[in-house]
Point group: C2
């Protein structure tokens, strides 16, 4: 950061009111990135007061001036991540979904009855996703309500915006990793209350039936009712893998398709996000659209588990809201930037075999990782882009701070070239500041800061 006039050199100890001056980029619609050169973004008490151009910060306001190799962008939004699977990341990609769950995932998730272990992993995943620029995450935990709450506390303590769900599963689960319907509903109700009691506006509960294979219709219906009566967020999985789709069809012969199973349970709402949607039929896409339910596209996971490739272009053209998800640990990265690259890659390949699947552009994955993710989590009025009144969740990206994005002196980059280099070649080292609700977290994210009780 450069100091100029009365400007500040860095983001340490910024007051609650400040301004950032420099190149500002954000996206409010698919395919378009808005660049504000010499922009000014004014923040007070965590909210955006104004966004404009002209480079003049409001008088008397502490101002940070970005360098010519830096830009400000909205924080990344991970619309699907399994926090407890973090230790398994990078392992077990010799199996496909249902075998992978039995062999790797369930045995790992059973360990989260251990409070100390859960605390260690949950602290680390929140730290690490913050370092990677994830300002909002939509988390699965496990069936254990007491440790699920630890993740909510951890997000609150570290200052990450989060939806946190206690996982529900009462059928087709291992003997040592299952609940009764009663246990599942009661502990979910308690979990919702416990998260509310944290009193942290950043963190909210999300109703989390794992998927239609591990919850029966009775449980799903009760969870649907709970969500609708309390206007709660909902998350689950849909149509990730052929074996899964087949099993769901066998389990629910009275439902025309997978989406209808969830719909009958009342789980398809405008606050619902479903992971994957690789194999959705046109009538299912239409139903999701009608309900306002979103899809979290998780390309690294779809590849690692050999699930298939989500027809993202079709979903978008059908009017569905789509965000991106790391899907740790089916996904092999906790960085949404890696997922953006993976989304580009799989879309190119999808296009080779299906000409209706025009590959995604870097502008489109930028949108999906920010505004698209916010919309997918029904938070598009609060975060995802820069508008007066919205929360200030943002990243400072520095091209010269990452080894893969070196800018040569003789060849200065234009703003959209900086964005391209960051998306194609950047990593967490390029993200030099991470703001959630106006608070800079990257410097402290790695430290053991415990202020929440």
């Amino acid at each position: 950061m450069q100091s100029a006039g009365g400007g500040k050199q860095n983001f340490d100890d910024l007051p609650s009111t400040f301004a950032i001056v420099g190149t500002i980029v954000h996206s409010t619609e698919l395919s378009t990135i808005t660049v504000i050169e010499n922009g000014v973004l004014h923040v007070a008490d965590g909210k955006i007061v104004s966004v404009g151009s002209g480079g003049d910060a409001p008088e008397g306001v502490t101002t940070v001036r970005l360098t010519s190799n830096q830009f400000l962008m909205p924080g990344l939004i991970d619309s699907h991540i399994h926090a407890p699977q973090y230790p398994n990341m990078g392992l077990g990609y010799d199996k496909t979904l249902l075998d992978w769950l039995d062999t790797y995932t369930y045995p790992m998730e059973t360990k989260y009855s251990d409070v100390e272990f859960a605390q260690t992993v949950y602290r680390k995943i929140v730290e690490r996703t913050l370092q990677c620029g994830t300002t909002t995450a939509c988390y699965f935990t496990t069936i254990h309500p007491e440790t699920a709450l630890l993740l909510a506390q951890e997000a609150a303590a570290q200052g990450q915006r989060a939806l946190v769900g206690k996982v529900c599963m009462n059928v087709n689960a291992p003997d040592n990793y299952t609940e009764t319907t009663e246990q599942s509903v009661t502990s979910t109700q308690q979990f919702v209350q416990d998260v509310a009691n944290l009193g942290c506006d950043l963190v909210k509960p999300v109703i989390t039936p794992r998927f239609a294979i591990s919850c029966d219709m009775e449980l799903m219906t009760k969870l649907g009712k709970l969500a609708q009566q309390n206007n709660l967020h909902v998350q689950s999985h849909i149509s990730e893998n052929e074996g899964e789709v087949q099993t769901v069809a066998e389990m629910y012969p009275n439902c025309a398709n997978y989406a209808e199973v969830y719909d009958k349970a009342g789980l398809l709402t405008s606050k619902t996000v479903m992971a994957h949607g690789v194999l959705l039929k046109p009538e299912e896409v239409a139903l999701l659209k009608e309900r306002g339910t979103s899809i979290s596209h998780c390309p690294t996971s779809n590849i690692n588990l050999r699930s298939g490739v989500c027809p993202v272009r079709t979903l978008l053209q059908s009017g569905l809201t789509v965000g991106l998800g790391t899907d740790v640990s089916g996904g092999s990265t906790e960085s949404l930037l890696d997922v953006m690259r993976s989304a580009l890659s799989v879309s190119v390949q999808k296009g080779f075999d299906d000409s209706s699947q025009q590959p995604l552009s870097y502008k489109e994955v930028f949108y999906l990782a920010t505004m698209g993710g916010a919309n997918a989590l029904s938070m598009g009025n609060e975060v995802g882009c820069f508008k007066a009144g919205m929360h200030f969740d943002a990243l400072v990206v520095d091209l010269n701070a990452g080894p893969g994005t070196v800018v040569f002196e003789d060849l200065p980059l234009k703003p959209l070239e900086m964005v391209q280099k960051f998306i194609y070649c950047g990593d967490d080292r390029n993200i030099t500041a991470v703001f959630v609700e106006g608070r800079e977290l990257k410097a402290t994210a790695a430290a053991d800061v415990r202020q929440f009780d």
Copy 2:
């Protein structure tokens, strides 16, 4: 690194004879990774003296003991990289090959008549690829012989093993970026001599006709003769993109296919590596095999430029030698580790649409990035795995040194799990030591060490 007994704590200032004790992994055949637990690798004067197990270092030899989260593996081999295109990395993926060359690549490459600019970029790309664990690189430069030599000097100075080629192109090239046949041949001969005069065993010249579109048959034939008479390495491109294949067919109506063009010119030798091979016909694969010519698979480039996906499984089953290439800047990464992941990803997707294309495994990409690359560059007797008498080109990988590969105390990893985590989730931060010819380079790679004259 742990010190134990008379062991050393780190790799700084190791003498010319030393031993490394710990987990050693390498691959001498596709699909197999050999793990030597409690292994001992003994090095003297840059060469491997012995590799064994049992954990006892030779008496009196300076010994470095790896921690339980570290392993030793062969250095990565980048069999196709365009050094001068480094500043363009991450830019220009809105075009396919031939338009991309005209719009982005040729304008960038013309800049390399500027010695200062060339020096800056070439120094940086050698530094950076070393940091990423590339112990051997097969480089394209530009048509400019004087700056091409700078790259050879830079590799020698920094201690990277390299093949360096002065690019030849005499037709279908921009007016300000072309040569006469005479210029091309003469400057290539001079370049070969200049590289020999460096007197550095690590760096060798490679005859480099850009591709059959930008060289006519007369030039290619002369280059083929030069290569065969002097037993030189050869590199070029083949069958990357449909437009290219079509243009070659039109330019050379008397040749049955693309491979035959190069064969008529005498360019298909057992020391030739051809980049891409996305669209090779079976008879071309057979011809390459007969000639002992190899393919450098460059998946990130193939995706970025929407070229197609190389049928690697078919090539391997046909008996071709295949290595991996970053293909900077069609490729968007200088890290071969990223390319290994990309090779996994595209192979999975290729398999969705063509059941003969069984996806690659992490073991197979490990092989391709090490032994496969060495074989592709006809250096398989010298580098690529650990055997007595071979050069000691190696990496120390530390799982706990990279933020994406964190190992939790309660969950120690087995050797092959460490390898998986590194391949799927690691980055250059995990590579804590890089050896070429027994000399550790990572610590000094970023510094401005100029000892070569």
